[in-house]
């Protein structure tokens, strides 16, 4: 029996009833991690039982004293983008290979306070630049459904660690699609809240005006539970929403009666793989049978959002990467350097191709004379995109589309496309730019690979989209599908 395949409430019952101890559970999970990581390459850092002992003991004590939270004693992985005190934190970038974080991100701090056992830090696209983990300076992770394929990205290690049955859940981050995308590519649930819902403090920045941490899980219920612990206002993050933690009540909705679902043809045609469209349309039929009403809505073509996203995000990337000058971060090889420029050049040459490409584009669009032409204009279109959603949410309660245009590609196939990453995020960019919440749930397979459907709601409507997703999941079994080789 693989305990990593259990849901959070199932593990809660086992721990609380003393059917299993925290140490036994952790060791069992560590075994799954070790056993499968040769194939999946989900992890960059795996903690030993010894390193985890204080956390294990504290969790066990809390359980024994009846002070357990929903997460106490349950192992998980986190994306290697979260600073954790005393732990190497790389964002999958070699320039941070020896960076030991001296401080704790709000998300991991909240997980730890809730008693979660973080067993390791997982792979991602370097600096979160990509949708496949292929830009990771440590090599790609693999999709447990077909290990010749990538698991999506940038939170690909999170996805492969959950879908591959290494851990019960993971916490990743999304800038535009980096939670929902890999969740869809690996057949699990990915939940991205409203921008500002989960603190960015201690999260290595990619696109600061977009970055949103969130869970990757087996079920909507688990995702909602994790949100309860990682969301809520954080005084360390000036962009954090000034509200207390989300407390989503999934039991409040039993069916989809009265729910108005908006769909747009642009999100089902063109570059969208037919099998993907078909699975999502079937899911919509299920939702109809549960009482929902489907309405076609007029939306801006998603390609505008990709253009805007590319400009805004790469501008922010070029700025956020400016601190890695080659002086404070880097390898500092032992061979004697001649000049300070040697130090800069040695260290900066470690930057991966994608990071360089994005920094160059970002620097260009921010430079004098081009700022108005690109950045300012992009921000104006961003406002239009927000208004576009404001408009449709007057008519419908949620907007639904496929999460990704296609199933996960074979590793290496996408790298030649200079906008790779962004095109994979085609269907996600608009909602990410608008800063609104979305959740991706599995809706079956095509070509033996999972397909994801995203449910998008207005700002702060996390509870609504989670309830809809939960009703769908309760009526279906797709979230229980497991890749044959990695049970």
């Amino acid at each position: 029996m693989n305990l990593a395949r259990k849901t959070i409430p199932e593990l809660r019952t086992m721990l609380d009833s003393k059917e299993i101890s925290v140490r036994e559970l952790t060791n069992s999970i560590l075994q799954q991690v070790q056993q499968k990581d040769g194939d999946l390459k989900s992890f960059l850092t795996i903690f030993s039982e010894k390193e985890l002992s204080p956390a294990i003991d504290a969790a066990q004590k809390a359980i024994d004293e009846g002070k357990a939270t929903d997460l106490t004693g349950i192992p998980c992985s986190v994306k290697d983008i979260f600073n954790m005190v005393g732990t190497r934190t790389t964002a999958s970038a070699k320039i941070l290979d020896n960076y030991i974080a001296p401080y704790e991100s709000t998300v991991t701090s909240r997980l730890k306070n809730a008693g979660a056992i973080i067993v390791g830090k997982v792979n991602m696209d370097a600096w979160a630049h990509g949708s496949s983990t292929e830009t990771s300076d440590y090599g790609p992770s693999h999709n447990p459904w077909d290990i010749t394929r990538h698991p999506g990205g940038s939170s690909g290690g999170s996805a492969s660690s959950v879908a591959g049955g290494q851990v019960p859940y993971s916490v990743g981050t999304e800038t535009a699609g980096s939670i929902r995308g890999p969740a869809a590519a690996t057949g699990i649930t990915g939940f991205k809240g409203t921008y500002g819902r989960v603190s960015r403090y201690g999260v290595i920045a990619m696109g600061s005006s977009l970055d949103s941490p969130g869970p990757l899980t087996r079920t909507v219920e688990d995702a909602a539970t994790i949100m309860k612990y990682i969301s809520g206002h954080d005084a360390h993050d000036g962009t954090s929403i000034q509200e207390s933690a989300l407390n989503i009540d999934l039991s409040a909705r039993k069916d989809l009666k009265g729910l108005k679902i908006g769909i747009s043809n642009d999100y089902f045609s063109g570059a969208i793989q037919p099998g993907v469209s078909a699975r999502v349309k079937e899911a919509l039929e299920v939702m109809k049978s549960l009482g929902a009403e489907i309405r076609e809505v007029e939306m801006l073509n998603p390609e505008y959002a990709v253009a805007v996203y590319t400009i805004v995000c790469r501008s922010e990337v070029s700025s956020n990467l400016a601190r890695y000058t080659g002086t404070r971060y880097g390898t500092f090889k032992n061979d004697p350097v001649q000049t300070v420029y040697d130090v800069f050049m040695n260290n900066r040459s470690i930057f991966g191709f994608e990071a360089k490409r994005r920094s160059m584009t970002g620097s260009y669009v921010l430079s004098k004379g081009y700022y108005d032409k690109y950045y300012r204009k992009a921000q104006q279109v961003r406002t239009l995109i927000r208004q576009d959603y404001d408009k449709i949410f007057q008519d419908v309660d949620v907007f639904i589309s496929p999460t990704l245009p296609n199933i996960a590609e074979v590793i290496g196939d996408a790298l030649n496309n200079p906008l790779f990453g962004e095109m994979a995020d085609l269907l996600i960019c608009a909602s990410a730019m608008a800063g609104i919440p979305g959740i991706s749930v599995p809706v079956g397979l095509t070509e033996n690979m999972p397909v994801g459907m995203q449910i998008i709601g207005p700002a702060k409507a996390e509870e609504r989209i989670a309830q809809v997703a939960h009703v769908y999941q309760t009526a279906t079994e797709f979230h229980k599908l497991v890749p044959a080789n990695y049970e």
Binding site: A101, G238, R323
Partner: protein, 514 residues
């Protein structure tokens, strides 16, 4: 060094006859906040152990996020209100990108196109002595960088970085290019410093690097330029002469020296027909001259964009109103009021209000005088006379003396009622400055009360005449100034308490009877 500099120098005055001097100032000031601009580390970095006041935010660690120091914003609003600036109701912070090892994030948080304060002015004395308003373009907030220490030892050259200063708030004030002499520049900076201290916004302590001046200097041939819409534009076909920026001058006096030096240098270059290239220079206080640093012909592209980590800041009317109430009466307003209400000259008033503590002390004195002009007039004489020399000798402000405001007024009241002489009053004030004490007790103890007892005075006069037959004989023989000696004797006997007029009358009277 160019030939022009070695050749015959034009005298400064001659230079001014032919060329106009055009100066714009940038002044950086560190406001007095407890914590840094974007984190809670202490902002008091002066002489602290290196790298002991740092955190992930001011070290620029991956993932750290800035939080705006509200206090610093309030202090800037207060400054803007005092300098007649417009306060933006919505402002934002921008990232200014450049590469330097002392800049931990690779960008500096600053304000690009929406500074907190826009416009405003400080009045100085113009060339002809009339009031001249120096227009302020803007005041914006930014964070300071770390401190780089370049060192050299047996192992080679290296640079150490101290991040204690990283993230300390800075105000950058920029003036329009409307300053036309080093005196105006000096007075502008002095007055800005004085106002900041009055407001309690900054100590603007030069020694601690809390105020740094950067003049932009150019000379233009008279009649070849005009100032329009914030810009210097040519009025002839000839191109304007390029400007020079002198960076990071750590004292107002040095700034004045640097401007004077640059004026002469530029005039000599221009006169020798040599090209003036746009450049950045530094002030070398030891050599008393500016030194070339780099040419600055292409503007650096800082790739400004709004910091996505800091939401735009709304400044409410309520906030501005409550800050307005905290702006005290400023030196110029006090000077104007003193002139109007008490007829104190602007010069004298200027000395009285030079710093806030002294101005408060003076206000206490005025209050003790019940705002009576006659008493105040004498108080000012004592303050700017004996008081000022006491300060000079003691190297302390009069505020730190033992002279209580009420005591000074008591002395003046005694003077005006004729109970003591002016001489005695001066003696008393001197004593009070040094030791303080109760005025009436001192008058008693020192016997300074005017001798109104005619009998006693007569006795002193008779004694003096009896004891000094030679002087009496001199007087009688026509040496009228011998009476001065005799008067001195009487005054001494009375311990200074006799009125000189009374003594003279009585002496003459007695002598004529001999």
């Amino acid at each position: 060094m160019s030939n022009a500099m070695n050749g015959k120098s034009l005298k400064m005055a001659e230079g001014h006859e032919k060329y106009d001097l055009i100066i714009g100032l940038e002044i950086h000031v560190e406001p007095k906040t407890n914590s840094k601009m974007f984190c809670s580390c202490s902002a008091d970095f002066w002489e602290k152990e290196p790298n002991t006041q740092t955190c992930p935010v001011c070290l620029g660690l991956p993932g750290a996020l800035p939080l705006v120091n509200k206090k610093a914003v309030e202090l800037m609003i207060k400054t803007g209100l005092a300098l007649h600036s417009e306060i933006r109701r919505k402002t934002k912070f921008d990232r200014k990108h450049y590469f330097y090892p002392d800049l931990p994030k690779g960008y500096q948080l600053s304000q690009y196109d929406e500074p907190i304060c826009e416009g405003g002015y400080i009045s100085v004395s113009g060339v002809d002595g009339s009031e001249k308003q120096i227009a302020i373009t803007r005041i914006h907030m930014e964070e300071d960088v770390a401190k780089a220490l370049h060192a050299k030892d047996a192992t080679g050259e290296y640079t150490l970085i101290d991040y204690n200063k990283s993230g300390v708030p800075l105000f950058e004030l920029v003036t329009e290019p409307v300053i036309n002499s080093s005196d105006e520049a000096w007075e502008f900076a002095k007055k800005y410093q004085q106002i900041l201290r009055y407001l309690g916004v900054s100590d603007a302590d030069i020694e601690k690097g809390q105020m740094r001046c950067e003049p932009n200097i150019s000379i233009q041939k008279k009649g070849t330029w005009k100032y329009e819409n914030g810009e210097i534009i040519p009025t002839t076909d000839a191109p304007l002469l390029e400007r020079v920026e002198v960076k990071n001058i750590g004292s107002i006096r040095f700034m004045k020296n640097a401007i004077d030096y640059e004026f002469n240098r530029l005039v000599e270059l221009a006169e020798a027909g040599e090209e003036i290239r746009q450049q950045t220079r530094g002030w070398n206080p030891a050599k008393g001259k500016t030194e070339f640093q780099r040419y600055k012909e292409t503007a650096q592209d800082y790739r400004y964009f709004p910091d996505p980590d800091i939401p735009p800041l709304e400044i409410s009317e309520e906030m501005i109103d409550s800050i307005k109430k905290e702006v005290p009466e400023l030196p110029d307003e006090k000077i104007w009021r003193y002139e109007k209400d008490f007829g104190i000259s602007a010069y004298d008033a200027g000395i009285l209000v030079e710093d806030k503590a002294k101005a408060e002390y003076v206000e206490q004195i005025f209050a003790a005088a019940n705002n009576t002009t006659e008493i105040i007039t004498d108080a000012v004489k004592f303050l700017n006379g004996i008081g000022a020399s006491w300060s000079n000798n003691a190297g302390k402000s009069i505020v730190e003396s033992s002279l209580q405001p009420k005591a000074l007024i008591e002395v003046i009241t005694l003077l005006h009622s004729g109970d003591i002489t002016r001489n005695a009053a001066s003696q008393l004030v001197e004593k009070l400055l040094n030791e303080g004490g109760n005025v009436s007790e001192l008058v008693e103890k020192l016997g300074l009360k005017v001798l109104n007892d005619t009998g006693a005075l007569e006795k002193f006069v008779d004694e003096a005449i009896a004891e000094n037959p030679n002087a009496v004989a001199d007087y009688k023989s026509g040496k009228m100034n011998a009476i001065g000696f005799l008067m001195g004797q009487v005054m001494r006997k009375s311990g200074g308490s006799a009125k000189p007029g009374d003594v003279q009358t009585l002496l003459k009277d007695k002598l004529s009877q001999l």
